[in-house]
């Protein structure tokens, strides 16, 4: 680890917070339907979308209406994307002449992009036509992110309102999230990415004559427009197979900093918007400090583990001071690779600028653990905030048990119904990850996809189901996941991780919005101070640890111990 490496990490994080504050203020205006700086340009577009779709923005929905509208919108989006992928061979903008996808791969991919996971069982440049990349994947990159933002805003309204029945209008929230937040950010930062070297063309490829007289075909396409929203919307699905490690997707250290900034900025801004919408910015600061503390700790462990290298690298004659550069790019080095790995999984982004499967066992455990902790550090756009608020509910409940009082959070009494729903949501993660992993660990059809033997093979399984259930999308890439078993079960894990989590969360929103907002009394446990922040961080770690530590002991921890003993598989 170097001072410059740490400085790089802290400067990028500071740049995120500096922009997220005003963006959060802007977003709180957008979602209250107030006039904002973009209204003169986008107001007419927003109104025409409402008019054409027959939506009255003033007509709000109950939690159930909101959730059903969300489900219908996502189901229809899935169906269109599935059909598009199946039929891509017959459609235009297909200069490479790619055939339609197989049913299981089309299912997996459509689910993957609708759930904001962007797990990719295929290599982009060898599978997807330009039309599929643009009209299929790019559209869902926007809409799955907008769905997440809308849901988070609905839950925040439930805390902000007192004795109300409705939590907002889903369609209006999606339109506003897309038009005012995601699209402008994607256009501006996407063009910046082109300026830094990312291609944006309808050509399929360029062929060049190499200096040694060979021929090299360079895959091209409308790359920048897709990868801008892939990061802004914490989707993470790359245009190319190796995602943000590809020099066209991420040409330079500067573009790498921009890419990390892109994936963090909306999620952090949402926390600031949350503070404004509930009228208490200190609450946002408390949550943000927990996110920052644990995320920086994750970055630190990954950076340390990768800089430490492995005895196997050292015995081959490599300078131990250089760390582990297998699967990493020279232009990023150790610090920027470790930071990217932690951020992409602290979020639910899933883009990668280095190959997590080739990290040292402890370094690779960091992204896996960050997913298992629920991707709330700070989590994907929207999903991170509502996930964190569920943990906060559990935290005040635990605190209430310790002192024997009815817990309250943000002026709302937390009672049996909210707790049941919160636990129901939280349990999805261990159920899907450990359940599917257990079956896959003994099934020949699953095991034949593993790329590595020994404990790392088990880690590949854990990582795949963690990534799918957590809607992350990154992978230990040794796993050959494009087979009916993996495509189908990972698709199911993605659906469970997204929607089986959202419905109980929305039920909590429905229950809370109807409750009166209580003024804090002498007996209220304050949720803006360091005591609550510490408790919240503790609950996150204890929950994750209890659920996953035994599994991790058999995977990455066993591998680390074996590796230090010089054992290979």
């Amino acid at each position: 680890m170097t001072v410059v490496g740490w400085l790089q990490i802290l400067v990028i994080l500071a740049a995120v917070v500096a922009f997220a504050m005003p963006l959060g203020a802007f977003m709180s205006k957008v979602f209250q339907g107030e006039r904002n700086v973009l209204t003169p340009v986008l107001g007419p577009v927003e109104r025409s979308f409402h008019r054409l779709a027959g939506i009255d923005p003033g007509k709000e929905q109950s939690w159930l209406g909101y959730a059903l509208a969300m489900l219908a919108f996502n189901a229809a989006g899935f169906l269109i994307l599935y059909l598009l992928l199946r039929a891509q061979g017959l459609l235009p903008f297909n200069p490479q002449g790619f055939a339609g996808l197989s049913p299981d791969l089309a299912f997996n991919t459509a689910v993957s992009f609708v759930t904001n996971t962007n797990w990719q069982a295929y290599g982009g440049e060898t599978t997807m036509s330009h039309l599929s990349q643009m009209a299929g994947l790019t559209v869902q990159n926007f809409l799955s992110a907008a769905t997440g933002i809308a849901l988070a805003v609905a839950l925040v309204r439930a805390f902000a309102r007192s004795g109300a029945q409705t939590v907002g209008n889903f369609f209006t929230d999606v339109i506003r999230a897309t038009l005012y937040v995601l699209l402008p950010l994607a256009v501006v930062t996407g063009l910046a990415q082109v300026a830094m070297g990312t291609p944006q063309t309808l050509e399929a490829s360029a062929t060049v004559e190499t200096l040694e007289g060979g021929e090299q075909t360079l895959a091209l396409g409308p790359v920048a427009s897709q990868i801008a929203i892939k990061q802004i919307g914490t989707n993470g699905g790359g245009f190319f197979n190796v995602n943000a490690a590809h020099p066209y997707e991420n040409p330079s250290p500067l573009s790498n900093a921009l890419t990390i900034w892109q994936m963090l900025v909306v999620s952090i801004a949402l926390v600031f918007a949350f503070g404004r919408l509930i009228g208490d910015k200190r609450q946002a600061v408390a949550i943000l400090s927990v996110m920052a503390l644990l995320l920086v700790a994750g970055i630190g462990v990954a950076y340390w583990a990768e800089a430490a290298g492995t005895p196997i690298l050292a015995s081959a004659g490599l300078d131990p001071a250089g760390g582990n550069m297998e699967g990493k790019e020279v232009r990023f080095g150790l610090a920027a690779s470790a930071m990217f790995a932690a951020v992409t999984t602290g979020l639910s982004d899933g883009a990668v600028n280095s190959m997590h499967g080739s990290f040292t066992p402890l370094g690779g455990m960091v992204p896996m653990v960050l997913i298992m902790l629920g991707e709330i550090l700070p989590g994907g756009v929207g999903a991170g905030l509502y996930g964190m608020l569920l943990i906060a509910i559990i935290t005040v409940f635990v605190a209430g048990l310790m002192v024997g009082r009815t817990p309250e959070y943000l002026g709302k009494k937390i009672e049996a119904k909210e707790m049941k729903m919160a636990i129901l949501a939280i349990l999805i993660l261990p159920t899907a990850i450990l359940g599917f992993s257990a079956v896959s660990a003994v099934l020949p059809a699953a095991l034949s996809g593993l790329g590595n033997a020994g404990p790392h093979g088990l880690s590949e399984i854990y990582y795949a189901y963690s990534s799918a259930t957590g809607n992350n999308g990154s992978a230990f890439g040794g796993l050959a996941a494009n087979s009916p078993w993996w495509n189908t079960t990972l698709g199911l894990a993605m659906l469970l991780g997204r929607f089986a989590y959202i419905v109980p969360m929305m039920a909590i929103a429905g229950s809370l919005v109807a409750k009166p907002k209580l003024a804090p009394s002498a007996g209220t446990f304050p949720t803006h101070g360091p005591l609550f922040a510490g408790l919240l961080a503790g609950i996150i770690l204890i929950l994750g640890g209890l659920q996953f530590f035994p599994a991790l002991a058999l995977g990455p921890i066993a591998e680390q111990v074996q590796m230090l003993g010089g054992k290979t598989f």
Binding site: V4, L7, Q8, L52, G54, F73, G123, E125, M134, V139, F142, L143, V174, T178, L183, A186, V187, L191, A195, M196, G197, P199, T201, A206, T210, L211, E212, G214, Q216, L218, A219, L220, S225, V242, P247, Y248, P251, P253, L254, N256, I312, A316, G317, L318, D319, G323, N324, M325, G327, E329, V330, R331, N353, M355, G357, S358, N452, A453, H456, F476
Partner: protein, 193 residues
């Protein structure tokens, strides 16, 4: 219920037109005017012929060229099939490869310790750079093959070395294609030597 279905169908159609066609096509048009070189892949030409991209690594095996890192993209530096090895840190295959390559490179260069990128594969398989230390390791070989002095080779390498951006971001790096174009310009008949 019916109004919800109408809203869903209409919005998906509108968003597909706006985000799936208008947005990427408008970005393509703007990028093509404002940044035509980058938008079409940052191609490098020599004598009117495209010989590579300044962003994408290519294969060099000759002793007279600066050699890049090992690549797992296709058969090596396949610009249409990016890939890492995805081998585990405890993979026997990786350990065996590292031992063999490490022994060979130490014998060829006489170095006691090899730079971290010298025998490891990159993440993309298309890494266009090597570390300054790995480039320095290759200077005597290139100089001998080209009939140049080590200082002349180093000068070309320095011209194609970038530091950390703003002194902070990323790592110092040497652009392999840039160095090799520079070497060819300096000693054009290297192949004949």
């Amino acid at each position: 219920m019916l109004s919800q279905l109408r809203a869903t169908a209409t919005l998906l159609a509108l968003f597909t037109l706006l985000l799936g066609l208008a947005y990427p096509l408008a970005m393509t048009a703007i990028a093509g005017v404002a940044f035509p070189d980058q938008a079409s892949g940052s191609l490098v030409t020599r004598g009117g012929v495209a010989v590579g991209s300044s962003l994408i690594g290519q294969s060099f095996t000759g002793a007279d060229y600066l050699q890049p890192r090992l690549s797992a993209a296709g058969d090596g530096y396949d610009g249409s099939a990016s890939s890492g090895t995805n081998l585990a840190p405890t993979s026997a295959r990786l350990a065996e490869r590292l031992r063999t390559d490490g022994r060979a490179m130490k014998a060829a260069t006489g170095a006691a310790l090899l730079p971290a990128d010298a025998i490891t594969t990159s993440g993309s398989g298309l890494d266009p750079h090597v570390s300054p230390a790995f480039a320095e390791l290759q200077v005597p070989r290139i100089a001998q093959a080209r009939g140049l002095t080590p200082q002349e080779v180093r000068r070309v390498i320095t011209q194609n070395t970038a530091g950390r951006t703003l002194g902070l971001l990323g790592e110092p790096r040497v652009l392999v294609l840039g160095v090799n174009l520079g070497l060819d310009a300096l000693a054009p008949n290297a192949a004949a030597n």
